[in-house]
């Protein structure tokens, strides 16, 4: 049973590597809306967008796990599945060895205090009619309702200080439109942290911020990680930024995971041709730098009828016959470094 208010040190008994989140063969299909006649003709077989297809991985306690890919790769869907904001079509999600799908609504609600989500657009994540103080206080009143009112307020002020909003009292009564974009993202982080969560799913948390603000936000996220003993699932399309914050990274393409491993291994010894293309495509801030490899042909196919076998095979420069026939499993190429490619060594 989960405590109403989690005491941070209570669950930390060992220093050994511990898995906080475990996904087992997770699949998520979204049915495609179609007309009445089309439904009749399809005889009950409704076409579906195969957003996430049979994915398994673990997030270790205390790490920053990066999840990267292009639009439509399914990375955000995975983020929502981890928090059980979406129900998987099949497969299981374990948080701290508890099967989330086995929890009742009320149990799940309490569980949510331990996991929080930060989105890309802070203005869209904040209620324009709520002051900053009210916005951060709201989760406290839900998850820590047994705290006296003045302590609840103090908690909000403390967390505002932690995210660098000083002095906290001067921001408490302000509305989101009265502060800058970078400050708003700090507020969203503060609101996520106020219930003392263990896991933060950050979905493109800095994609909207300007370059000069980005570095400060990343720095803050790392500082908070230490201070609050957090684990991050860092979802991003920006491999250059991911390099600075992630311990391990997974690359997704069309609902499948094609590579997973320590950041250094994946960036320096990318085993999957798609990962190599993705890394090559990132613009380098150096006018003397030129791309060495040509970009893959064509565009990302539809996730409704994904290609057979390896989903990247129609665009892959080194594809062999086998790639179009059999789905490559995610196998280890070196310790801790996995790739799903028939030609990976």
């Amino acid at each position: 049973m989960i405590d109403e208010v989690r005491i941070p040190s209570a669950t930390q008994t060992t220093n050994a590597i511990k898995n906080l989140v475990r996904l087992e063969n997770i699949t998520k299909h979204f049915p495609v809306q179609s007309g009445f006649i089309a439904v009749l003709l399809s005889k009950g077989k409704v076409p579906a967008v195969r957003a996430v297809d049979d994915i398994s991985f673990t997030i270790r306690k205390g790490e920053v796990f990066g999840l990267a890919g292009e639009s439509g790769s399914g990375k955000s869907t995975v983020g929502r599945l981890v928090l059980r904001l979406l129900e998987p079509t099949s497969g299981q999600v374990f948080f701290d060895d508890i099967d989330l799908n086995s929890l009742e609504t009320e149990e799940m609600r309490r569980m949510r205090a331990r996991m929080q989500l930060v989105f890309q657009d802070p203005l869209a994540s904040l209620n324009p009619r709520m002051t900053i103080g009210q916005a951060i206080l709201h989760p406290v009143t839900i998850h820590m309702s047994n705290l006296p009112k003045n302590e609840q307020r103090q908690r909000v002020l403390d967390i505002l200080t932690s995210v660098g909003m000083n002095p906290p009292e001067s921001f408490y009564e302000l509305f989101p439109h009265q502060i800058s974009g970078g400050q708003r993202q700090r507020i969203v982080l503060a609101r996520a942290l106020v219930t003392n969560p263990e896991l933060i799913v950050a979905d493109e948390p800095i994609a909207m911020a300007d370059v000069s603000v980005r570095a400060l936000l990343l720095d803050l996220m790392m500082k908070l990680k230490k201070e609050f003993d957090l684990t991050y699932l860092f979802i991003t399309h920006d491999l250059a930024t991911a390099k600075y914050v992630c311990n391990r990274i997974a690359i997704m393409y069309l609902g499948k995971m094609c590579e997973l491993g320590p950041v250094r291994d994946v960036y320096e010894k990318a085993a999957h041709p798609y990962t190599r293309a993705l890394l090559q495509a990132v613009p380098v801030p150096d006018p003397l730098h030129r791309r060495k490899e040509p970009m893959p042909a064509g565009e990302i196919p539809s996730a409704i009828n994904p290609p057979s076998g390896c989903r990247f095979h129609p665009r892959c420069p080194i594809a062999i016959d086998k790639c179009s026939q059999e789905i490559p499993p995610l196998l280890e190429v070196s310790p801790g470094h996995l790739a799903a490619c028939w030609l990976a060594e």
Binding site: S212, H237, P283, P285, H289, M295
Partner: protein, 332 residues
């Protein structure tokens, strides 16, 4: 500097009228766009780079207006043209590509119809067949298969739509294309291909491109020269290699150092303190002075003019101006 100027912008200012007062989003900006070059214009949100891009085409409507400056394009002063003449320049001699191609294309018009209609509107003497033929040829060059021209915008991917936008500009043989964040809504691989395309087009059509973006990496990849804006003013301009190798303005220095680089193995990113100022109440003197690590007392009082800081590089910073006051300041 022997390169011929295609577009000479002198002392351009653009203001927005707001309830809080007039906001000068472009403040006394002067620069040249040279024939055949890709000029990258970089800056953070709200620095005025898009307002500047629109200003070059006199695209502003109330509450924005151009409050001063001259726009000398290919020997003509655009400020002296009337609205009808200006409309023929826009989309004709100066093409535009915006961030979101979906909002630039008509959702209920097939791509081929859009292309031919545009050609016919600007060149009424052309027959419909000729226009169609030209559109077909162009599309092929841009890697759009002929059968896809019969599609509607929503049937195309973001990268394809952006190619259509470029083909619209090329269909009218534009001399200059102003591309405002053209790759921002695209994925990296699509973006890389689009940038390759821009480079090819420059070679093949002798196109001049003003590339407005916040992405420093994109500028480094395709630009010949780069202009940096901060708080409505131009702070540095010059050859892309010189600026990336040796940025002079403290803002440019900070900006370039805070860009994540996938190639280098730096453990930490540079963190610039503070945030860009509000243009309602901009700082006095040099607008970067409250955040500048090498600020001097003169910086607070007067705005530094552009001065030569390299062979093909200018910056607006008191550090590089031989000023009698400077000696005194350093003693402080």
């Amino acid at each position: 500097m022997t390169a011929e100027s295609l577009f000479s912008i002198r002392n351009l200012s653009v203001e927005y009228h707001t309830r809080g007062g007039d906001v000068r989003a472009v403040d006394d900006v002067s620069f040249e766009i040279r024939r055949g070059e890709i000029l990258g214009l970089v800056g953070e949100s709200a620095c005025g780079k898009s307002t500047l891009g629109k200003g070059l085409m006199r695209l502003h409507r109330v509450p924005a207006r151009i409050t001063g400056g001259t726009l000398l394009f290919d020997g003509r002063d655009l400020m002296s043209l009337d609205e009808d003449e200006m409309r023929m320049v826009r989309g004709g001699e100066i093409g535009m590509v915006f961030q979101d191609p979906m909002t630039s294309l008509n959702p209920v018009q097939r791509i081929i119809e859009h292309l031919t209609e545009t050609i016919l509107a600007h060149e009424p003497d052309t027959s419909e067949e000729q226009a169609k033929k030209r559109a077909d040829e162009l599309a092929e060059k841009l890697g759009i298969r002929a059968e896809r021209l019969k599609e509607y915008p929503h049937q195309m991917s973001g990268g394809m739509r952006q190619r259509v936008m470029i083909s619209l500009a090329l269909a009218l043989r534009a001399k200059l294309v102003i591309a405002d964040e053209p790759t921002t809504s695209l994925d990296v691989i699509v973006e890389a291909k689009f940038l390759d395309l821009l480079r090819e087009l420059r070679q093949e059509f002798g196109l001049t491109i003003l590339l407005i973006t916040h992405n420093i990496g994109v500028v480094a990849e395709v630009s010949d020269r780069v202009a940096v804006m901060y708080a409505a003013r131009l702070v540095e301009i010059g050859d892309v290699r010189s600026i990336f190798a040796d940025p002079k303005h403290p803002y440019t220095r900070g900006l370039l150092r805070s860009v994540p680089n996938i190639e280098l193995n730096d453990a930490e990113l540079y963190k610039m303190e503070g945030a860009p100022p509000s243009l309602l109440h901009p700082p006095t003197g040099c607008r970067f002075h409250p955040r500048c690590p090498s600020v001097m007392s003169i910086c607070k009082d007067s705005n530094p003019p552009m001065s030569n800081v390299g062979a093909d590089q200018q910056a607006a910073c008191w550090l590089y101006i031989n000023n009698p006051q400077l000696a005194e300041v350093k003693h402080d």
